[in-house]
Symmetry: C2
Subunit: 100 residues, 2 copies
């Protein structure tokens, strides 16, 4: 099968890559603002983080909500679809820890 | 955390990529000869398949056994370490099928 059609590859196209696993795990415990995500993943460049959030949004993995108050603020959270991957991500995480 | 140290990324470095998921799944049901792997994944180029088998071997995921008889033949099989990832791969597969 062409790799782009193989289901495992399709999953990894969505959640794999350099920063997405960490973005996912940073959001697992609930919504975060951009600045909180930056603190959770200090190594990621601001533009790259912005791009990843947008891409994960367009893939249906992250929901972006604007809250208006004294100042506008934005929160990012995992979607239901994203949470269906949570057991798998936990397994990948624990397997990766013991993979030496 | 630098991505290369993040456990999920470490797992994906081993099992992700263009052809490795299909090589893994082709071997899940038991040992195969090179020619059987080629038939199972007809889209992969012979040199690329050889390289992937060697790399997965050096990562401890595939065992290569030579059988001598009338003619020498070689079989590839998943290692114990590789099989510990089987439930995760199944989940990635089913998630990827429904990921649209």
């Amino acid at each position: 099968m062409k790799p782009e059609f193989f289901p495992v590859n399709r999953a990894l196209t969505i959640i794999g890559g350099k920063w997405r696993p960490q973005v996912y795990c940073a959001l697992e415990k609930g919504p975060k603002r951009f600045s909180e995500l930056e603190r959770a993943i200090p190594e990621v460049n601001r533009k790259v983080l912005t791009d990843q959030l947008r891409e994960l949004g367009s893939l249906g993995m992250i929901k972006r909500t604007e809250y208006s108050g004294k100042t506008l603020h934005v929160e990012y959270e995992l979607t239901k679809k994203a949470y269906t991957l949570q057991p798998t991500m936990k397994q990948l995480c624990s397997w990766g820890k013991n993979a030496d």
